[in-house]
Structure formats: structure tokens, C-alpha cells
């Protein structure tokens, strides 16, 4: 083979670069710079701080393991670590125990109102979890209505119902908040399984339970694993529930809050954050290993309708079971609506009907309402742009290091909110080069960092489905990169951008765990206001504010479901 002399070839290359369309590279530089400064750099600083002596001094070179040895020295640290483990594992286990049967019943048993059950079953995860927590205070607190009632009934027998405060309450509350992940994902798997596989088993002489054990269950395992991981990641990162009903039982996120808010000990908080992330990463790794061994391609062209159980007994059991789970998990939402119209609720019935709780909102929470919408909408728009661009880069340009880019943008997905705030505070508070403490900017950035994965995943999935020849056809027709991007790529991935953004917006409107460490008097949001009202015992006001939040979130999600008709739970899935 003859080859062009090296120097000639080189000059050819150079000519090409000059004539090439450089707009994409300019456009891509912005999101990549943003990520480097506000994601990678803070993570690095946090990691560095974790190995520095307690305090908030950023002193490179002063190595100390103090932050970590505390886990063996301090009883409080040790307990928080153990509590975090117990709570997240217990919550994951209970969610599976509750969610899998429910998924199976709704998918495989003939019963009325399935769509309603699926819609109601999604509510707990779109509601702010700390709202659920304080309504359980109304129901099962020291003077709680349910506890009150049960004590009247059970008191004479010498049984006293425990209060919501402590481990029991955290586990109960998180389980009822997060079981929908397992329910929805296992429902999807049960409903879409190929019935021919089960029928084949039956023809070979297998019994129903045997088929479930050997065919049905192994095939839904990947979905179940994804659901369980979501539950675990959220449970271990949840701040609101332990902050409100944890009582004296600390977990890692509240411990981080305590270090920052009580002592302004950023280095100490960073150490806890590192431990928290390590646990999450370990669980993620274990889950991937287990699931990868059980991921199957379905090898069949034909797909027949799943047969449903029609026996009367199982139908009755299924309906009672599903209704019971739904009613209990929706109790907080019902309670909160009632509570918002009353002054207090300490006995069996609420007392003093009033609209005052709502009347107070425009007077006392106007700034908070504005901040919540302003911050959430701004962050959502920016996250949508960032997420879409990065997805476009990794999917279409496939640069070297695309996997690294993918990993770093997805990392915040498993980072607890408190960890994100600690890393931003580590890098940008006080006298650092870019000082952002107490500003709107730092909150918007934290929101973007945390929620960009939603848009990114959604758009990346959509782009990977999109045939590149659609874009090539535009290039061939004479359009430059930007024209093609604007007229072909963006319109085609728009549904994915919108889907990811809606999810982002609804979760940001109720964001507490990141904001709690970053807000200043100027940047208070509604969730902060609710948290404060609960702490002050003003449950009526907290309820009214929560109802406002619930209504807004519900309307947005309902509108999206009407338009897109896909399950929200699956949009939370990673990978």
C-alpha cells in the first residue's frame, strides 16, 4: 500500500480543522466548564477536607484522620452510623415486602380500579417526604389521634402504642414514602413479562408456585433490584424524616447537618459525607453485580397477553391488601388537608375550624413562595439545558472519556442532598475565590447538580433511540451543526427534555435536604418555612403551606401523565 507522505497528510488535517464547523465545540465548552467548576472541583475539595482537622479551615498539607476515627471514638457517631444502616436496610426490606405482592396483585389478579391504584400508588413519592413525617406526628405523636384512639381501645389490655419518634417512626415513614418505587417497577415487570415463558413451564408440568419461583421471579429480579436500590439510596440520604421524627436518634444526614449548623465544622461534615457516599457506592456496586448476573434478553418475537388470576379468594385478598396499603400510605395526605383547616388536632377530632392558616400564607410566606418558584424554575431550565447538551455530547460526539463524563454527571444521583450542600459549602463558602455563601446562585447550582441527571438520563435514552441518519440527512442537505441541532435534534428529543424537566421541577419545589444547609434569610424556601413551622409546633400553618405545595406538584405531575402517559417511577431509575 502506498501512503501519502506524513507532512502532506498533516497539512490536510489542519485544513480540515480550519474549515470545520467550530460552533459545537464552543457550545460544548460551557456545560463542561460548569461541571468542572461546580461538580468535580467541590467533590475534590470535600474529599480533601475529609482528611483535615476539625473546623472549617481549608488547610492543605495538614493531614488528619480525626473525622473518621470519631466513628469509633464517639458514641453519637457510632450510633448514627448504625442507625443509618438499620433504617435504610429495614426500609428497603419492608418496601420489597409491601411492594412486590402489590405489584403482583395489580398486574396479575383480575380486579377493578387498577389504573386508580397505579395513580394513587405514585403519590407518596411525589409528595415531600418531610410532610409525610410531620403528619405522622399528628397521627401517632405523643397526642396523636390514632395513638389516642388505639390507647383508648388497647389501654385496658395494658398495651401502649409507641410514639412515632425514633427508629420505629423513621422506618414506618420512609417505608410508606418509598414503597411505590418497588411497587411500580415490579408491577411493570410482572405486567410486561412474556406469558409464553410461564405457559411453557406449565406444559412441562410445573406447579404455579414452582413457576413463580423458577421463572417469574428470576425474570423480574432486575426491576426489583433497580427499585430496591432507589429505595436504599433515598433512605440513606433522607434528611427530612429523621430531622422531624428522629428524636434523639441521629442518622448520617442529620449528623452532617448537626456538624455544619451546630459547629460550622465543614471538615468534620466532609468526613461523614465521604462515609455516607462510600456506603451508597458499595450498595450500588453490590446491586450491579447481582443484577448483571441476572439480566436477560427476552428471546421471543411473539408476546401474548398475561393471564390473570380469577379465583374469588385471591381477588378478595388482593383488593383488601392493595386498598389497605394505599389508605395507610395516603393517610398523611388526607390528614394534612384536614389539618390545614383547623387550629389544632390533639384528641380524636380536630378543633377550631379556620381559614386563618391559608390567610397567613400571603402575609408571612410571600418571599418563601417567590423563592421556591424562582429557584426551582430557574434551576430546572438551566438543568434542562445542561443535561441535554451533555447527553448530546456523550451520545453523539462520543468523545474519549465519554464514560467518565457519564459517570460524573450521574454521580449526584446517588449523593445525599446534604452531601451535595457540604461539597458546595466546602468549595465556595467563606473566603474562597468564588464566594457564594448565602446567595441564590449557590442554591440554583446545588439544584442543578442534583437534578441534571434526570434530564440527562431521559435525553440520553431518547438520543440513543434516535437514528443518527436523521441528523446526517440534515447535514447532507446543507445545514450546519447549529441549524441541524435546532431544527432536527432538539425537536425530536423535546419530549424527553420536557419529561426530565417536569420531574426536576416537581422534586425541586419540595427540596429540603440541600437547601437546609445553604439557605440564608434572603433565600428561604417553602419547605424551609414548613420545616421551621413544624419545629415551632405550628402544625396548622405547616399543613396549609404543604397543601399548597402538594396541589402544585400534583397538578404538574397529573398534566405530564396525561400528555406522556408513562410511569413516573420508571423515570427515577438510573441506567
Amino acid at each position: 500500500m502506498k501512503r501519502t507522505p506524513k507532512n502532506l497528510q498533516h497539512s490536510g488535517r489542519l485544513g480540515e480543522v480550519v474549515k470545520k464547523d467550530i460552533t459545537p465545540y464552543l457550545v460544548f465548552a460551557i456545560p463542561l466548564t460548569f461541571m468542572a467548576i461546580f461538580l468535580i472541583y467541590p467533590m475534590f475539595i470535600t474529599l480533601a477536607r475529609a482528611f483535615m482537622p476539625a473546623g472549617n479551615k481549608l488547610a492543605f498539607g495538614s493531614f488528619s484522620l480525626q473525622g473518621f476515627t470519631k466513628f469509633s471514638e464517639s458514641l453519637m457517631y457510632r450510633k448514627a452510623l448504625v442507625n443509618s444502616f438499620i433504617v435504610s436496610l429495614a426500609v428497603t426490606a419492608f418496601c420489597i415486602l409491601i411492594g412486590v405482592p402489590m405489584g403482583y396483585f395489580v398486574a396479575r389478579v383480575k380486579m377493578p380500579g387498577k389504573n386508580l391504584m397505579l395513580s394513587l400508588g405514585i403519590l407518596p413519592i411525589i409528595m415531600p417526604s418531610f410532610v409525610g413525617a410531620f403528619t405522622w406526628v399528628i397521627l401517632l405523636g405523643r397526642q396523636g389521634v390514632v395513638r389516642h384512639f388505639l390507647n383508648i381501645v388497647l389501654g385496658p389490655l395494658g398495651i401502649e402504642v409507641p410514639t412515632i419518634y425514633g427508629m420505629f417512626g423513621m422506618i414506618l415513614c420512609m417505608t410508606l414514602t418509598y414503597y411505590p418505587f418497588v411497587f411500580q417497577l415490579s408491577y411493570g415487570a410482572f405486567a410486561s413479562a412474556n406469558s409464553l415463558l410461564e405457559e411453557a413451564g406449565m406444559l412441562m408440568g410445573a406447579h404455579r408456585w414452582y413457576i413463580f419461583r423458577t421463572i417469574t421471579f428470576p425474570l423480574i429480579l432486575p426491576s426489583l433490584g433497580a427499585g430496591a436500590l432507589l429505595v436504599f439510596v433515598r433512605a440513606i440520604g433522607n434528611f427530612g424524616i429523621p430531622a422531624i421524627i428522629g428524636g434523639d436518634k441521629y442518622v448520617l444526614p442529620t449528623l452532617i447537618y448537626f456538624r455544619v449548623n451546630g459547629f460550622w465544622d465543614l471538615n468534620g461534615a466532609a468526613s461523614i459525607a465521604v462515609i455516607n457516599v462510600l456506603i451508597t457506592a458499595l450498595v450500588l456496586y453490590l446491586q450491579k453485580r447481582v443484577i448483571n448476573r441476572h439480566e436477560y434478553e427476552t428471546i421471543s418475537a411473539t408476546h401474548s397477553e398475561i393471564k390473570q388470576h380469577e379465583g374469588l379468594t385471591i381477588r378478595i385478598i388482593a383488593i383488601i391488601y392493595c386498598s389497605l396499603v394505599l389508605v395507610i400510605s395516603l393517610l398523611p395526605q388526607i390528614t394534612i388537608i384536614i389539618m390545614s383547616f383547623y387550629e389544632k388536632w390533639v384528641g380524636l377530632f380536630p378543633e377550631g375550624f379556620t381559614l386563618k392558616n391559608y390567610m397567613r400564607i400571603p402575609v408571612y410566606s410571600r418571599k418563601e413562595l417567590f423563592n421556591t418558584f424562582y429557584l426551582s424554575v430557574l434551576a430546572t431550565v438551566l438543568a434542562a439545558i445542561l443535561g441535554s447538551l451533555v447527553a448530546y455530547i456523550t451520545e453523539r460526539k462520543k468523545p474519549r472519556g465519554a464514560a467518565l463524563l457519564d459517570m460524573s454527571i450521574m454521580a449526584p444521583f446517588i449523593l445525599p442532598g446534604t452531601v451535595v450542600s457540604v461539597s458546595l459549602l466546602s468549595a465556595f463558602s467563606g473566603a474562597s475565590i468564588i464566594a457564594l455563601g448565602g446567595t441564590y446562585t449557590i442554591i440554583v447550582i446545588s439544584y442543578m447538580i442534583r437534578r441534571t441527571p434526570y434530564v440527562y438520563r431521559s435525553v440520553a435514552a431518547s438520543l440513543s433511540q434516535l437514528n443518527p441518519s436523521l441528523e446526517e440527512a440534515s447535514t447532507i442537505a446543507g445545514a450546519n451543526w447549529f441549524y441541524t441541532f435546532r431544527r432536527v435534534s432538539v425537536p425530536l428529543i423535546m419530549p424527553a427534555i420536557i419529561g426530565g424537566s417536569i420531574l426536576t421541577l416537581t422534586t425541586l419545589l419540595q427540596e429540603l435536604s440541600t437547601t437546609i444547609l445553604l439557605y440564608s434569610s434572603r433565600t428561604r424556601t417553602v419547605p424551609i418555612q414548613i420545616y421551621g413551622a413544624v419545629a415551632d409546633g405550628k402544625l396548622g400553618e405547616a399543613s396549609a403551606l404543604s397543601v399548597v405545595l402538594l396541589v402544585v406538584v400534583f397538578v404538574i405531575v397529573y398534566a405530564m401523565n396525561r400528555k406522556q402517559g408513562k410511569s413516573i417511577a420508571s423515570s427515577f431509575k438510573m441506567g
Binding site: G15, E472, T475, I476, A477, G478, A479, P491
Partner: protein, 370 residues
Amino acid sequence: MSLSLTYKHVNKIFGENTKNPVHALKEVSFTIEPGELFCLLGPSGCGKTTLLRSTAGLESITSGQILYGERDITDIPPFRRNIGMVFQSFALYPHMNIFENVAYGLRVRKTPEDVVRKKVTEVMELVGLTEELKRNPSPTGLSGGQQQRVAIARALVYDPDILLLDEPLANLDAKLRRYMRAEIRRIQKATNITTIFVTHDQEEAMAIGDRLAVLRKGVVEQIGTSNDLYTGPNSAFVSNFIGKMNFFNATLSGPNTATLDKVDVEVTVKANKVRFSDTLDAGTPVLVGARPEQMEVLTKAAEGAVEGVVQIIQHLGQVVRYEVILDSSISEVPLEIDMPGMIEGVGEQDQVFVRLKKGLPFLFKVEDRN
């Protein structure tokens, strides 16, 4: 008026600086005449699509030149090359109606609205979609054949210098495919744009192309008209890719004579059927090639006939195809022999004798035939 398209020593290496570089195009040099409908033919992975995409500018070439007329277009980005391309998947935009799909290239060129209307109407008339244009549905509402026509119209509407068709018929069913290849030829001749048509289907290539190039492993094996390639293949590979060719292992015994291995049958071919240019010494292993219709099946032993066993008999209508197994040292794969009718008294698994018709067989160099 379209100009010629010339490739000069074009090389394309994927992953040049990696551990496993793939040399997809090797020293490709040839010229496509103005207004010609030229087919690139070859098995999958032969580099035909890479050559097409390099012509479009969607891939950059590693070395060499691509000229349109006299102009070097090697380094011109794809969106400035003024090329029309029809993709295998059609790549129609689901978010635009068919008018906007076709008008796309004109909109890019900021063409005035009245000209856009006129040109779209004209081109839709050319591809036979006047009725559909009136309804103007989304392309997803059209049949496969109609989508294909929209894709062609979209590629033609801005008067491209070159038209590229990347396996455009692969997504259509067999009947429509035969109809559309006649249509494509009609449309190409009506516009007279220099056109490259990529396919892996030799029947399609022979039917549609003015000339074809057969590619193998990034190398152009042979270029010519369908008849050139069928009657005068330059290699065993081309001969068996353009139509079917049976091969016999043989040894050269004279300038145009070879002796079949093992059975000692001597085969003499016409001088123009010796398909290698360099002179080979007597005693060199060669391949004797014969097309299915250049052989016959006999029931009795005869002069120059080789013994074999019938494996399968297929009645194909005009001919009956006999698959006959010979001793594997003569031919590794079963022979395919077409006879004008059934042979009385011969069934599957019967012993028969196979003879090459006089003067028709080819002589090829021994080569790797994959």
C-alpha cells in the same frame, strides 16, 4: 449539468492510532462519469458504505483525494458539498409533514417561499407523489414505498451535484423492491445527476447500474458493466459474487489448459477465458470455473466426465438445479448445475457424471475466496 466524480488513492483507516486499526478502504482509485448511475457492490463490511459516507463527507478519509469535476472536495465539510443522499432508514423527520421534509434543503438555503412551493411540487411530481402532497400527511402515515419516494424527493429538490443512495431498497419487501429499482433508474435518468447506488444485492446492482464496482475488504476488485462482470470476471471472487460460479481445483498444464486434480481430466479454455494477466508456469495450481449452465449432468461415464453423487434436486421453473458432490480434493463445496429439464431416472443420492461444456469454462488464479 452534473460532473464526474474521481477517487484518487483513497485510504480510510478506522482507529488509526489504536491497537486494532481497521483498514476499510485501500488505495481506491476510479472515476464515475457525469450523469452515470454507478453501483457499489460487495458483501457486508467490504467498505462500500464507508466509501459512500466519505463521498458525502460524513467520514473523513485518511489519505487520498476525492474530486468533483476538477475540484478537490476532500476537505469540504459535508454541509457545503451540495450532495443529495437517501438513507437506508429513509431518515424522514417525524416532526415535519412531507412538504416540510422535502422542502428542508431549500429552507436551509433560505430559498424564497414561492420557489420552495414550485420546486417541491415539481419534484413530488417527478417521484409520483402529487396526490399525497395534497393531503400532506406526516411521513409516518405513508407506506414504505411512498416514504422511499419522499426520501428521494428530499434529496433531489435542491438540485444536488451528486446523488448518493445507501441501500435504499433494503427496507422494502421483495415485490416493491423490484418496482422501485426501475423507478429509481427512471428518476435518475430524468434528472441526469451523477449517482452512486450502494447495495449488497448483485441482482439489484446488475439491474440498476450503468456500471458497477465490486469491492472486497476495502479493495476495488473490478469495475465494469453488468455484462463485463458476468462474462469476464477478473477473479474467482467476482465471478462467484456476480452470479454463481462452480470451481474445480486444477493444475496448469499449458497456456490455456489445466488438468483437474485427482481425475486427470484435461480442460482447455478459450484464450479470453483465461482470467489472469500474469503468465503462470505450468504446474501452478489454478481454479477452473464454470457457471451452472456451462455444465451438464450425465447418467453414464463419458470422456472428460467426473463421477459424483446428487445431493438435492430443485425444480426452479425454466431450469432444474442439481447439486452434486464430487471428491472433496476436486471441489470442496457441492456443484450447482442447471439442466433444461428433469433427467429421467436420476434421483437424490444417485451416482451421476458431471461434464464441463467445451470452450465455456474459465481459468482463475487460486485465491482466498471469502
